[in-house]
Symmetry: C2
Subunit: 152 residues, 2 copies
């Protein structure tokens, strides 16, 4: 079974390299692809946060792994690819919750998007309180260490 | 630009119709597709919650809209498709945060997944505290009304 998608928008920012950390200061514009009408963003500013689903389009098929130590760090345990958020994964889909700063016509401006310039966007969804995790979040111990500079 | 994906797993549950509400009691199994090795789920139970990215594969291309009133309710405002979570959307991608109940070999059992039996899964990501929305969530007024029976 094959599922064929097309970008609905593209990311525009100053970040050209998919390096690991320091995404906190990046401001990105997301501009609708020309086949998508402006109405697709109507009233999006009624929401403070959005989920951006995008394609890690620089990830090469030959780099995809099914498990590994996060960032190759020998101090971290071996994790399945679906137990980490590494970009070199089957289907190479990225997902990030961003803050909506501005909406103007075919462009939204967002903060805290961990995608580089030119990234194809597959979907945008509004964050709703009712879709937040129910109950307390428990996570692997290595996460807070790995993430310590991510949003700086 | 076309992006071709393949399911990495499939949903198995008792829900056969994509009706709007009452997803709270649905327990789903997600079983890896046979081309994906079991190691892809290694140590996934170090996380309490997962993000499931899936395909609304019953959504027909001719039903896709770019805007509309959520659930056709005349009391709700006109919203762009990227300002609501309706299934009939470009690329027909669904996204839901679930609770992980059990992991056994090639199967994870989850709660609070709003996908029907047979749904192709495109990606699974662990929920990390550091990827939660930063700051307070503000949302459109109609959301809490629309969602009132969703998780019952």
């Amino acid at each position: 079974m094959k599922i064929e998608l097309q970008p609905i928008a593209f990311v525009k920012n100053t970040r050209t390299q998919p390096t690991d950390d320091f995404w906190g200061s990046v401001i990105s514009e997301i501009e609708l692809e020309k086949g998508v009408p402006e109405e697709a963003l109507s009233n999006i500013d009624l929401f403070s946060h959005l989920e951006i689903i995008y394609s890690f389009n620089k990830s090469k098929p030959e780099d995809v792994v099914f498990s590994g130590r996060p960032r190759g760090n020998p101090l971290y345990p071996l994790m399945g690819i679906f137990a980490q958020r590494k970009k070199d994964r089957p289907n190479a889909i990225g997902l990030c919750t961003v803050e909506l700063i501005k909406h103007e016509g075919r462009i939204i401006t967002v903060k805290n998007l961990d995608a580089i310039d030119g990234t194809p966007v597959l979907d945008i969804k509004p964050v709703m309180k009712e879709f937040q995790p129910k109950g307390e979040i428990r996570q692997a111990e290595w996460v807070s260490d790995l993430m310590k500079d991510y949003w700086k």
